[in-house]
């Protein structure tokens, strides 16, 4: 019973994801968006890091 529930619900979930992926191109774009936003954030972070890294080599409290 439990194993049937797990296997059947897994199949249903996999089908839902797959069908959504196939049927809705906009979803594909939307679901991939976070990785691009994250990349932008990383780039911004890196830019600032590059600008500041040589100006601060001492810990804030002088450790």
């Amino acid at each position: 019973m439990i194993s049937n529930f797990i296997v059947i619900s897994s199949i249903i979930l996999a089908l839902i994801f797959t069908l959504a992926w196939l049927a809705r191109p906009s979803l594909r774009k939307r679901i991939e968006a976070p990785k691009h936003f994250f990349q932008e954030q990383l780039q911004q972070y890196n830019r600032e890091l590059r600008d500041t890294r040589n100006s601060n080599t001492v810990p804030p409290d002088g450790q």
Binding site: I6, K29, I31, A33, F37, Q39, E40, Q41, R50, P59
Partner: protein, 893 residues
């Protein structure tokens, strides 16, 4: 409160807290690894710590695993979160002061007191939950603080901008907050197998809902950051996220396959384990594709650690899914295979991810010291060390599985494991060295050198640095594609939270609460009417057993497998564990299962075994518990008495219930084939050492395997009887009755075959049924060859007449009219009288026994009742009973 996103991301990262947790992580790691190294050395040198309880094997084992999970990985993850959360969200974490409190609680209210208490003997014997309840309270407080510290920044972002690392971080923080109290506190209040079902959930949740999500958050963070390119597929990553959070919690019961926990729950966990393996393949494929272009051995050291972590993750997950399947689980469960698996998970996959995360953050702390060369050394030492350890333990597990399945003597598996345990201990050199180099790498070298390790090109234009085919973010997606924040956003968070928490609730309901109710019903229906509760002494002994980690070497669950039933007896029924708070079912067998320890050994043997294990079992690996005695096994302190009382109680309730008491159980079992397997088992206690009535031993042919016999004697018998069979082995001074001096007696072959098959009841002489007929035959010849009684003087006829009269008047009531040990009083004696038809003492030995008696038996000294002449006469007379048929003529005197 979290600041707005106005501050530059670089300044939003609290580098001091990253640094503090990073250093704490490495310090706790080294301490935990030292514990682990000592534990591994104790497999080779069991008396390494001299029987001093605070450094006993069990306590160090507790400290080792808690140190790795909470000290090392906990601090490493916190260090990474202080770096990652501001970058992922654009907001600072909630509060620096909160961070200081969190740091202080994690290290000075959890780790330090946790270790001190565990080593002092205050602990709980639950896998991955060994710190005591008082420390658990502080862990929960710390987890609440962590949630307050790191979650608010995420809730300020649109859900649809939430990157997969963020999902994993949120999931880990929320789920651990739910799973930790369940796994650490509930089993203290839910007995036996029902508690084990909950405990099993936590064993997997600790890895699957705490360690794995945070490790994956690091992998998904560091790979795009180091390669300068987005991950291959965010869709696949989210599929993996939801798949892991759905299936991981449903895996827990696979730690108790073939146990008494309802098979339905076991099969559910097995199915979920297989499905989890499939999902991990997708996750790993995505992570590997995300590294394309970086090469098999990335130049950037942080990425290189992460890359190896991905490979470890693939191997450990496929292995985990496989070993949950019944066919493999039947063989490798309880073996070093599982130990290799857990080391690959925690020291391989999770540790390499954590190191990658720390290095990544370290490189971005402008003032942090950084020694790239040391980190290179750390990588190679750890990679080589972990792979060797994993392969070595996996092979050891297969060897142990083969021996256990074959029914060969338990000690064979120890002997066969020894080379593997030596190799495992030797891996301490590269692994320990690697961790030391890691500490050197982040505490030496110029300040800010980590930043220069990250190439200018990567910082300036990360995508071009590795991936020339950059896809512009703006071209890939625009804000128009994203649903605007507002009510929809709030609803999305609620839906995600309900789904996530629902998964957890589902797993607890299906694999924790439901099995618990079934087991409670089974207990109520099948338990005998009487209530054989543990005595106070046994209950105190149980706490000592738990405190010293005995359950980590000796399981207390006879599984529903043919091999377990043949070796240990009837599989454990639910009611047998109903007084176990918490359960002690165990997850590893280094020594044999102790579910049926009652009646298997004498108390005297237990005392000697606890005090000096190798005196009675020369190949034993058990540490000495001499601290429980006042200098000798015959001077046990109360704790030793309590512990032995507990050991003697194990299985006693079922023994008393058997076979009449099981009628009720049989009626309740109905057609439950698993319960019937236990009730129909041929032997309730099949422990090979258990002594049994004489008479049913298979005959043994004469053996000429002298070398085999000599080795068997040395490994199994010399501890008590001495190398030369004189009864003067290291344990002889403490055993009552003392081991027999075999040089002053000769025995018939059949008699020795019987003694080896059935043991000598109520003495320390166990049965040796697990040895093959060839082994036992070889031992019979060894014993017979010890006999040196040919020079015994012949008696005068008058002596025999006198001896006959004395014997009839004084000895026959026990030894029988014909000397066969079957006198009318024999059955009343705890230790059977000597059968002179099968055992012939030398005449001098006969006199000695008549004069001194045999301590610990019913044979008293006769000097106050018989004259010297009578003693001499009867000593000759009893020798005449010996059946000389089949004996060499020169010995028949």
């Amino acid at each position: 409160m979290a600041e707005t996103a106005d501050r530059a991301p670089v300044n939003r990262v609290d580098t001091q807290l990253v640094h503090a947790h990073g250093i704490a992580a490495l310090v706790t790691l080294l301490i935990a690894v030292i514990f682990g190294i000592v534990v591994s050395l104790q497999f080779i040198f069991p008396d390494l710590t001299g029987g001093w309880l605070p450094l006993g094997w069990g306590r160090l084992r507790f400290a080792h695993t808690q140190g790795i999970m909470l000290g090392w990985l906990g601090n490493a993850f916190l260090a990474f979160l202080y770096h990652a959360v501001p970058v992922l969200t654009g907001y600072t974490v909630t509060s620096r002061n909160l961070g200081r409190w969190l740091f202080a609680i994690w290290n000075f209210a959890v780790m330090a007191p946790g270790w001190i208490l565990v080593l002092s003997g205050v602990s709980q014997p639950l896998e991955w939950a060994e710190f005591p309840l008082v420390v658990d309270v502080f862990v929960v407080i710390a987890l609440l603080l962590a949630a307050a510290q790191f979650l608010p920044p995420f809730f300020k972002r649109s859900l649809e901008r939430l990157y997969v690392s963020s999902w994993y971080i949120i999931g880990a923080l929320v789920f651990t907050l739910l799973a930790f109290p369940m796994g650490n506190i509930v089993p203290e209040f839910v007995p036996g197998a029902a508690g084990a079902a909950i405990s099993g959930l936590w064993i997997h949740d600790a890895v699957g809902l705490f360690v794995t999500p945070l490790a994956l958050a690091i992998l998904y963070f560091v790979i795009p950051a180091a390669t300068g390119r987005p991950i291959y597929s965010h869709f696949l990553s989210m599929l993996g996220f939801w798949g892991l959070f759905f299936w991981y919690p449903l895996n827990g019961t696979h730690h108790y396959v073939f146990s008494v926990i309802p098979m339905e729950a076991q099969l559910g966990a097995i199915a979920a384990s297989a499905l989890l393996g499939v999902v991990v393949v997708f996750v790993v494929a995505n992570l590997m594709l995300s590294q394309r272009g970086a090469g098999l051995l990335p130049k950037e050291i942080g990425l290189r650690f992460v890359s190896m972590s991905v490979l470890f993750y693939l191997v450990v997950s496929v292995q985990g899914a496989s070993q949950a399947q019944m066919a493999l689980n039947k063989a490798v469960h309880f073996t070093d295979w599982v130990v290799g698996h857990s080391h690959l998970a925690m020291l391989g996959f999770a540790t390499f991810a954590a190191i990658g995360g720390i290095i990544h953050a370290w490189q971005r702390i402008p003032w942090a010291r950084y020694n790239g060369r040391a980190l290179e050394w750390a990588y190679w030492l750890l990679t080589v060390g972990i792979w060797i350890m994993f392969i070595d333990l996996t092979l050891a597990g297969l060897v142990q599985a083969e021996i256990w399945q074959s029914g060969a003597p338990w000690l064979d598996s120890l002997r066969a494991s020894e080379p593997y345990w030596i190799v495992r201990a030797l891996t301490a050199i590269p692994v320990g060295g690697g961790f030391i180099m890691l500490l050197v790498g982040i505490t030496t070298g110029p300040r800010g050198a980590g930043a220069t390790a990250v190439s200018d090109e990567l910082l300036r234009n990360p995508v071009k640095a590795i991936a020339p085919e950059r896809v512009a973010v703006s071209a890939a997606v625009s804000d128009r594609d994203i649903r605007p924040p507002g009510r929809g956003l709030v609803m999305a968070y609620i839906v995600a939270s309900v789904a996530g928490i629902g998964f957890f609730a589902l797993s607890v309901s299906l694999l924790g609460i439901w099995p618990g109710r079934v087991l409670a019903e089974q207990s109520a229906l099948m338990a005998p009417d009487f209530s054989l509760r543990p005595t106070d002494a046994a209950e105190r002994g149980r706490r000592i057993y738990a405190r010293e980690g005995c359950a980590y070497c000796h399981s207390q669950q006879i599984r529903y497998t043919a091999a377990d039933t043949a070796r240990f007896g009837a599989p454990t029924l639910a009611w047998e564990t109903r007084f176990d708070y918490p359960h002690l079912m165990g997850t590893r067998r280094i020594g044999p299962d102790l579910s049926r320890a009652s009646g298997t050994r004498t108390a005297n043997w237990h005392y000697v075994h606890l005090f000096a294990p190798r005196t009675v079992v020369p190949l034993s690996l058990m540490p000495s518990y001499s601290s429980l005695f006042d200098g000798a096994p015959d001077k046990p302190r109360q704790e030793a008495r309590d512990l032995v009382a507990y050991l003697e109680s194990l299985g006693q309730a079922r023994e008393i219930a058997w076979p009449d008491g099981d009628e009720k159980a049989r009626a309740a079992a109905g057609d439950n084939k698993w319960a019937l397997m236990s009730l129909d088992a041929p032997l309730l206690n099949a422990h090979t050492a258990k002594t049994r009535p004489r008479g049913d031993a298979p005959k043994l042919a004469k053996s000429d395997a002298n070398e085999l016999g000599a080795q068997l004697w040395k490994d199994n018998c010399a501890g008590c009887h001495g190398l030369d069979g004189r009864g003067d082995g290291p344990a002889s001074a403490w055993l009552i009755p003392a081991p027999t001096n075999l040089t002053v007696r000769r025995y018939s072959r059949d008699y020795l075959a019987d003694v080896l098959w059935n043991g000598v009841h109520n003495t320390s002489m166990p049965a040796w049924r697990d040895h093959s007929a060839a082994n036992r035959a070889a031992l019979v010849e060894v014993v017979r060859n010890f006999a040196d009684i040919a020079d015994t003087a012949l008696p005068a006829p008058a002596d025999l007449v006198l001896g006959k009269r004395v014997y009839a008047e004084n000895c026959a009531e026990c030894h029988g009219d014909t000397g066969n040990g079957n006198g009318f009083f024999a059955k009343e004696l705890p230790i059977a009288p000597t059968n002179f038809g099968a055992e012939q003492p030398s005449q001098a030995e006969s006199v000695r026994v008549l004069q001194l008696g045999i301590a610990g038996t019913s044979m008293a000294p006769w000097t106050d009742r018989l004259t010297e002449d009578e003693i001499l006469a009867v000593s000759h007379y009893v020798r005449n009973f010996f059946d000389v048929s089949g004996e060499p003529a020169e010995n028949n005197r």
